[in-house]
Symmetry: C2
Subunit: 472 residues, 2 copies
């Protein structure tokens, strides 16, 4: 195995400089969803381009229909022909910092503060999501290049500015630049650890689709005194339909909904079970005590491997102070569905329409609005060589094997890479549960940053080993 | 029977003056719910006080917690001791005139316009509701006094300015002035005809209560990716509960809901059936075709004699453009219940709470807000002497017997008179279906006004006859 003590010493010895570089990036208020900050987005992208150029990358800014993407290519000389092509993905845009008055230090003036536990932390918007995390990989690459002269693989770095906003901008960019982005695997550093001491690799993500449904009945709002009892009330129709969306066991009742929901492999189930997922604590943390999902599944299965139908919003009629005796002309709900396995957006939409049609009174109408951002579920085989390589590397750095876990949320870009580039993503991140991504006082522990950089260095080492191993 | 040709000729001969007086009243923009018009409300009340004083009433304005009430007493000399005491109730406040741009003439500049059918109509806000209607009774009294020298009964006129707003103002006033308002019957002219040629007496009104219900689950809004499937979604809980509020036959499923819902007497059912209620036209007029109420009941029964549970508003989560993957912390709905027979507000509220409690997950909470304005159903016996007297009088004027019908809406003041003064109301009005109360271009046909005045004159005649009939 390659000796990488020089790389690790380089990382530890220059940590202050790494933190200083991260601080520079954190000072750009690059809120991609707010036009007032689009100048800051361009500045952050330009800073990253300069950084990568200084490291020896061929770096450029490419236009998209949203914020520019930073694209930087590293093509080391003299690599064997079988050297892998890696695509590293991250995002330089951040969530809006509101509410500002809850921040203990200004969100775009990064601060190092030591906690009562002795741990040093970096406080700033974007500290963990995703500036701190994406910099772990760039700093590891920098340290490797400095110590070894060059990376042992072809690398393209792709950093976008619309991750917290409209994902269709990057989708379009990837679709139009497939050839340039072609690679063997995507590395992404935008997820969390299992706990402060145990690293994690995410091997499953749920997909997501969003539908708005509007039921209309009477041609206008009616007086409930003159019409109540005889006239159709669209709120009644809507609540009746939505109230039947789940059966008594928490199963979704749409026809064909569970087609393509494959059972989780026994090995994965064993691995998950061994995690002792703290279900009670997880629910208690948000004021709940009873798992609300499908009976017969553990809480971690309900969020990791089972599909859902959720009502995210509902609105109709009079909702102000006091009462108004109105029977409204229409009623609206916003739904999302989390997808797993081979469930397709088309299958779910078809089931929803059948389900509603079967329950819709003949004198009511329904209309749908499909929101953008469809994503299918993504699964990375736990036996994939990339996962095995990362498992070994993370175990060396953290002294314990990483957890192979799933995530209930969707990271649409992973689906985009899978469907457009036909390539799997390796999701490794060093965030902690209390980092407060999207919240005031977002932070990233210096330990996460340092050991994150070192973890990537060990993964790079694993790739170098592969090059040196004689091919049979 | 008393000869009243002099009264009727007086009415017809002075119709232009009656219309001119109504126009004066219509010019006051007396919108009781809008503070900007409270001066106009006081002016309208003062004008009515002057009018009644000129007619020989002892008239005054009494303060309430809302707009002032006009109270005018007419105590003719030399009446026999058994002469009845009549309370006439009306309201001088009107609905806001919005949307103004839909009016063909300014809402507070009354106009006489002849339709293509030759019918002259009075256009103004309040033309029918209730200025035109209340003036039919006052003009009849004026004509009677002029021709006969005095009314054949004790009369108190009570005109309020909060009917379209908060009914608790008048409730408080009546509660504090029971002795002064004590009477044998209340006359109210604020309802409609069966059709343009057939008068109507309303003998049943549904009661009404309003409840707001809020279901809360998680301690804060959750991300549906990280929690969807395992965490309780209050919209799901609320829609499930509301979706079970009615069974497959349209019956309300609250425990004890139908206690006190007495069957409609056979004679009333026969009378209603003979009306040939135009159910198809009634539903088609609002874009519907299928009666949505309890199976086994005709449409007119569903709105006149059956209680209801209606959802008038619902709100939770994200309802803006696009989608947001949120599981909201709470979900709200506004309900009203129409009451019939002896159903009490307390009974319905108790049933609702039991019903929700039985369906509420243990880690959810519910809170209620009872809106004001409770009213129980009101029924006036069709065999009451007041109804019989009115039936005869209306038949003389219109050439056909009046329809005894019910109204699905609630007129809370009728319940107030019943509960606080222990007195029935006689509900007779001359509005037509196309009058557009509460809508732009509200109107009152001159025929409604003229024959309305004449109808009340004939009712007064009937009362005079009673005085003259020797007591046995």
């Amino acid at each position: 195995m390659k000796n990488i003590e020089d790389v690790l010493q380089g990382i530890d010895g220059a940590l202050d400089e790494s933190v200083a570089r991260l601080f520079e990036l954190l000072r750009y208020p690059s809120v991609g969803t707010d036009p007032a900050y689009h100048g800051a987005c361009r500045d952050a992208a330009a800073w990253l381009k300069r950084l990568l150029a200084e490291m020896g990358f061929k770096a450029r800014l490419d236009k998209t229909t949203g914020q520019p993407v930073v694209v930087a290519e590293y093509a080391p000389k003299g690599l064997p022909s079988h050297a892998p092509r890696i695509l590293f993905y991250g995002h330089y845009d951040v969530q809006p910092p509101d509410p500002l008055d809850l921040w203990e230090s200004p969100p775009f003036e990064p601060q190092l503060r030591k906690g009562t536990d002795g741990e040093e932390r970096i406080f700033a918007r974007g500290a963990v999501d995703d500036k701190g995390q994406l910099m772990t990989f760039l700093e590891a690459s920098r340290a490797w290049i400095k110590a070894k002269g060059g990376l042992p693989f072809h690398l393209t770095v792709l950093l976008e500015g619309d991750e917290e906003g409209d994902s269709t901008h990057l989708d379009r960019y990837v679709a139009e630049n497939r050839a340039k982005l072609k690679s063997d695997v995507v590395f992404i550093c935008d997820t969390g650890m299992w706990d402060a001491k145990t690293p994690a690799i995410i091997t499953r993500l749920r997909g997501c689709i969003a539908e708005e449904i509007v039921i209309s009945g009477p041609s206008k709002d009616l007086h409930s005194g003159y019409y109540g009892g005889a006239a159709r009330n669209p709120i009644r129709v809507l609540t009746k339909i939505l109230g039947e969306l789940h059966d008594g066991n928490g199963k979704v009742t749409l026809p064909g909904f569970y087609d393509g929901v494959d059972p989780v492999p026994a090995s994965t189930r064993r691995q998950w079970k061994s995690l002792n997922f703290p279900a009670k604590k997880y629910l208690k943390g948000v004021g709940l005590s009873i798992p609300a999902g499908e009976k017969g599944y553990a809480v971690y299965e309900q969020i990791w491997s089972r599909p859902t139908a959720e009502i995210n919003g509902i609105y109709s009629g009079y909702t102000g102070a006091g009462s108004k005796t109105v029977l409204p002309a229409e009623a609206m709900a916003k739904l999302t569905f989390r997808l797993v396995g081979r469930q397709t957006p088309a299958q779910i939409r078809k089931g929803l329409r059948q389900f509603v049609k079967a329950r819709l009174p003949a004198d009511c109408k329904v209309r749908y609005k499909s929101e953008g951002g469809d994503s299918m579920a993504v699964t990375v085989a736990e036996t994939s060589p990339w996962v095995r390589l990362a498992q070994n590397a993370l175990k060396q750095e953290w002294g314990r094997a990483p957890v192979l876990m799933a995530e209930g949320a969707s990271i649409p870009v992973v689906g985009t890479f899978k469907s457009l580039l036909k390539v799997d993503s390796l999701l490794i991140g060093f965030g902690r549960e209390d980092d407060g991504a999207h919240s005031p006082n977002e932070k990233y522990d210096v330990t996460s940053f340092r050991k994150g950089i070192r973890s990537w260095a060990r993964i790079i080492a694993g790739l170098a080993d592969q090059q040196e191993r004689p091919k049979s």
